[in-house]
């Protein structure tokens, strides 16, 4: 046993942990490969089940297929893996910003299976977020296995997300950018190399296992000046559609919670609505990659009116699927809605002015996709690089930048938080690196408590108290009950001056007669941000901390700011 232990320690510490950067690169590539495998598994199985169900889609009873899938998916999540519905990306961001990227192992497979049930049966959702969840969880758990620290664990979580996006779209740069822009929220040198390697590993494993099956075939476009100007208008339209889509998704979620039905019935009802729409507009069913490909290659045959109806139908179908309890992400629906929007815009514009030269409707479908991704996720770089890699070149870069940046800016103006972050922002739980709330949350309240304050008994007479004051350098004195030692109030020296200057009062006044019982108190459970808010609200610079009715100490604004400064220096010095 000792021999095994010796060699284990030798290999682990002397070879594997010789250099932490090397370790992260090796671990990152493993995570990237695992994410790629998850992507291939889900895509292959979704492709197989969608092909298998395709011949039955024209039967009337096919409307129940998405209902059954969504109901089964919600039962699986709620009863088998005991996780809530949703796509999981906010959960990853939450874990990264608050708990050093700790994710439960069960999340590595739970959402893959539930989204397979939802999307495979025809539900309108995307497989990207579940694969991102799976990859990130694998990264987090590998970090746990290797006993890595929080910062390294967060990097591996980012590796998982990058590997997933990269493997799905064969877009390693988009994977890297998605991971850093959306998941981690910080560009740091230590993160970029492992994540880039994971991204490449994810794309390569997908290509090796699934050769010749990229989601979208590269399509070169010849961009002209008209397209750049037209993209200004397209950006505004995609921003409006993004806002409508965001609000519809959240609104449906709120409505479904008010329906007094079991969770699986609600999911089934949502699926049923999708099934009914799907009978007439098949574009709303599933993840929609096939429709996107035909729009990019300019072979989408539907008329302008049907396209506009399809946009509304896809928004409604996705909201019904995800808002009512189905499982999956919004990435693929964004791409479908975006490409439909781009197509509708192109057909309308060039029907009105047919003589204008342009890059063709495929290019506008791509620009629409970039606009929707940038607007919904408020991540313009992800939108730009994803489309650049799908298009297979930088020809479209200028209109892409215009569409993505304007769409993201307009959406940010109307909805300050992206769809992924909105819930976290509303709960006050988004702690992005470098933000005030993040730094404050990293400070320990215990470090700030000054417990050197002298506690005085409520029945002490003023004369005795004056002698206590003489020996103390403090100007605040907590008053406690002699028997229970419970905190009762506070005495500030400047408020007792009138009694102190009148010797006749020295033996007549007890401290419980002059103490201030209205001073607001905090507890150890309060966050520093909360304590600062309480101090601001009550216009005080120092606050007593009372736990279980006992006085623990004082926390001052000055000490918080002092520690904040030190923490800020420490955090910003880590590159």
């Amino acid at each position: 046993m000792h021999f095994v232990k010796y060699w284990y320690k030798f290999i682990y510490y002397r070879i594997f942990r010789m250099d932490d950067r090397l370790l992260l690169i090796i671990a990152g590539s493993i995570v990237g490969i695992c994410s790629g495998l998850a992507a291939v598994c889900l895509r292959q199985s979704l492709g197989a089940v969608l092909d298998w169900l395709h011949p039955f889609r024209h039967y009337w009873w096919a409307l129940f297929l998405p209902a059954a899938g969504a109901a089964l998916s919600s039962i699986y999540l709620e009863k088998v893996t005991k996780e809530g519905p949703g796509h999981g990306v906010p959960e990853i961001i939450y874990a990264v910003s608050r708990y050093g990227g700790l994710l439960r192992f069960r999340s590595s497979y739970s959402r893959l299976i539930s989204s397979f049930l939802t999307i495979g049966s025809g539900g309108s959702a995307g497989p990207e977020a579940p694969i991102v969840m799976s990859g990130s969880t694998i990264g987090s758990n590998l970090a746990k296995f290797l006993s890595l620290n929080d910062r390294q664990r967060i990097t591996l979580v980012g590796c998982g997300a990058a590997g997933a996006i990269s493997a799905i779209f064969n877009a390693p740069i988009a994977g890297l950018v998605f991971s850093i822009e959306i998941i981690l929220g910080e560009w740091k040198f230590v993160n970029i190399i492992p994540i880039a390697i994971a991204s490449v590993a994810g794309a390569e494993i997908s290509k090796i296992l699934y050769p010749g099956h990229t989601v979208f075939v590269h399509q070169p476009f010849n961009i002209v000046l008209t397209d750049v100007f037209a993209s200004l208008a397209l950006a505004v339209i995609t921003a409006i559609v993004s806002i409508i889509f965001t609000r519809s998704l959240r609104g449906m979620g709120k409505i479904s919670k008010q329906v007094p039905l079991p969770f699986w019935t609600r999911a089934g009802l949502g699926g049923c609505a999708v099934g009914i729409i799907g009978l007439f507009l098949p574009v709303v069913l599933g993840e929609g990659y096939h429709s996107i490909q035909s729009m990019i290659s300019g072979t989408y045959s539907m008329g302008i009116l049907i396209i506009i109806i399809s946009i509304a139908a896809k928004i409604f179908a996705t909201s019904m699927t995800l808002g009512w309890g189905g499982s999956g992400g919004i990435f693929a629906p964004c791409l479908v809605i975006g490409s439909l929007t781009g197509l509708a815009f192109h057909r309308t514009l060039f029907a009105l002015i047919p003589s204008l030269a342009n890059a063709g409707e495929g290019a506008y479908a791509l620009l629409g996709m970039a606009g929707l991704i940038s607007g919904m996720l408020q991540a313009p770089l992800t939108g730009i690089f994803l489309i650049v890699e799908i298009a297979g070149g930088y020809e479209t870069i200028l209109p892409l930048i215009v569409v993505s940046s304007i769409s993201a800016t307009l959406c940010h103006y109307i909805e300050p938080a992206s769809f992924y972050l909105k819930e976290l922002v509303e709960r006050g739980q988004l702690l992005r690196p470098g933000s005030d709330s993040r730094i404050l949350s990293d400070l320990s309240i215990q470090e700030l408590i000054d417990d050197s304050y002298v506690q005085v008994a409520q029945n002490m007479v003023l004369r005795e108290f004056l002698s206590v004051i003489k020996e103390s350098d403090k100007y605040l004195f907590p008053v406690i009950d002699e028997d229970t030692r419970d905190y009762l109030g506070l005495i500030q020296i400047n408020t007792i001056r009138q009694y102190a200057l009148d010797p006749g009062m020295h033996d007549m006044i007890l401290l419980n007669q002059i103490m201030d019982t209205t001073v607001v108190t905090g507890t150890l459970e309060n966050g520093l941000q909360e304590l600062l808010d309480m101090m601001d609200l009550n216009n005080i610079d120092i606050i007593p901390i009372v736990e279980n009715y006992k006085f623990i100490g004082m926390i001052s604004k000055a000490e918080i700011l002092n520690l904040y400064r030190r923490e800020l220096i420490m955090q910003t010095s880590i590159q």
Binding site: M1, K82, E83, G84, G86, E91, Y94, A95, R98, Y99, L102, L103, R104, R106, K144, S147, R427, Q429, E525, G527, E547, N548, Y549, K550, I552
Partner: protein, 275 residues
């Protein structure tokens, strides 16, 4: 009374027994009890290296309208001011985060296995994982409320046994109760005494402990009869590494499935609080 014990309240007669046991522990050791009344059947605990999702069974949600009243009555009957824990952070809307900065946490033997709720049963997988990961000692109560009149420390020689000895000695001192060490002799007596000496606990032991019983390595069940029925057992857990635990099983799990006593368990990551 700055130290805190978290108790997850179950509004059932069995839950009352475990809560009474927690309150008794708090009273003896002068620790502040804090009650969490779950509103969902799951919650998450984020430890330094692991996120553990605890899936409760539905009995934890029994009669939510009377939970606070029942818990308050038990608090007041034991001269404690009621303190309830309200989760502030949520990983998902139905998944609250429970902080892990408590000094003690009380757990039933299994939190999601209906078959072993009343009997001793075996440790549930979640309880096992919390014990393995937590930085606090875990109080696993007897199925029915019983007072304890002494502290029995199991000292088997592992790294965690040293922690358990330290914890037991501090608990004994805080509760002002006799402390006895029990060792099942697998090696020479001197080995265990040297181990205690090397870990710097010899002086504390000589000062605060009453006795050290070395039990012959007979069948385990027979040996355990020597342990007083009214002692709080303090022991280390999962200190031997995964391979030894897989091959020989966990001693702690054997003890908990045989003895009806209250157990205070120090896991591999546990830090022993000053009392």
């Amino acid at each position: 009374m700055n130290k805190k014990l978290l108790h997850i309240f179950r509004n059932t007669p069995f839950g009352r027994e475990t809560f009474l046991q927690s309150l008794y522990f708090c009273k003896k050791v002068r620790v502040m009890p804090i009650v969490y009344i779950p509103e969902t059947t799951k919650f998450l605990m984020y430890f330094a290296q692991d996120a553990v999702q605890v899936d409760l069974d539905n009995s934890y949600l029994t009669s939510p309208e009377s939970s606070v009243k029942h818990a308050t009555e038990l608090f007041e009957a034991n001269n404690f001011k009621p303190v309830f824990f309200e989760p502030k952070n949520f990983t998902a809307s139905t998944l609250p985060d429970i902080p892990t900065n408590f000094d003690f946490v009380c757990l039933p033997r299994s939190i999601s296995d209906l078959s072993s709720k009343i009997g001793l049963g075996h440790l549930g997988p979640k309880v096992r994982r919390i014990v393995k990961t937590a930085n606090f000692p875990t109080l696993i109560t007897s199925p029915v409320f019983k007072e304890w009149k002494s502290i029995a420390i199991f000292f088997g020689g592992s790294e965690n046994a040293v922690k358990a000895a330290k914890l037991g000695l501090r608990i004994g001192k805080a509760a002002d109760l006799p402390v006895r060490l029990y060792t099942i002799k697998e090696k020479d007596e001197k080995y265990y005494r040297n181990l205690l000496k090397d870990s710097g606990l010899e002086d504390e032991f000589n000062k605060d402990a009453d006795d050290w019983h070395f039990l012959e390595n007979n069948p385990f069940k027979e040996v355990l009869y020597e342990i007083p029925h009214d002692a709080l057992i303090v022991l280390g857990a999962f200190g031997h590494g995964i391979i030894k635990d897989l091959v020989f099983g966990s001693k702690m799990e054997k003890i908990q499935s045989i003895l009806t006593n209250n157990l205070l368990i120090a896991g591999p990551n546990c830090t022993v609080p000053y009392l």
